[in-house]
Symmetry: C2
Subunit: 108 residues, 2 copies
């Protein structure tokens, strides 16, 4: 097997509707209520998604472990932002499946 | 939530080391033993990965349901090939996370 563990870990982290919503929100906060100088904190994600604080913590741990977000504690709050290196790696991995290297067998 | 169900289904199908190995094998059979005019059948995948027939069937069902492979029964054998439309959709979805739209907050 020549797929690497990072790719699997990142794909697993991405394969969840709540985590994709969190990434979309971090990437592009939908409202000026959330779009502040300080960035997006865990409480903003709780408010936006209307889910519990433990649910957000659970998903942020998975996204952090997969290298998709970075956390920074400032005072009592934890701020998050997306990081792109792992995402780049996954896209580069998947792109090999975009163009067929051989003619379609089913078309013959 | 504005992520669509197809994207989640495809990401879930991709987030598994055996299924990624199957896609890699279907895309580019590693040996001329497998690279025949007829294409790759379920038995070839069993032989290549050295896993059981039920294991291969289980994973092929998930890959087919996610629109990542297409199956064709010919006689006693089922042949498979990769299809690219869903993969294209996933890559297009993920590409939005490649370039930051705002300067990094953590760099300030």
């Amino acid at each position: 097997m020549n797929t690497n563990d990072d790719t699997i870990l990142t794909l697993k982290a991405l394969a969840d509707p709540i985590r994709l919503s969190i990434l979309e929100f971090l990437w592009d906060p939908v409202s000026d209520v959330f779009r502040t100088e300080e960035g997006i904190c865990a409480g903003d994600i709780v408010d936006f998604l209307d889910v519990s604080q433990p649910t957000v913590s659970h998903h942020m741990k998975i996204l952090s472990a997969a290298g998709l977000v970075e956390a920074e504690k400032r005072g009592q709050r934890v701020y998050y932002e997306c990081i792109t290196e792992r995402m780049d790696g996954v896209i580069r991995y998947l792109e090999r499946y975009r163009q067929p290297t051989t003619p379609s067998l089913l078309d013959r």
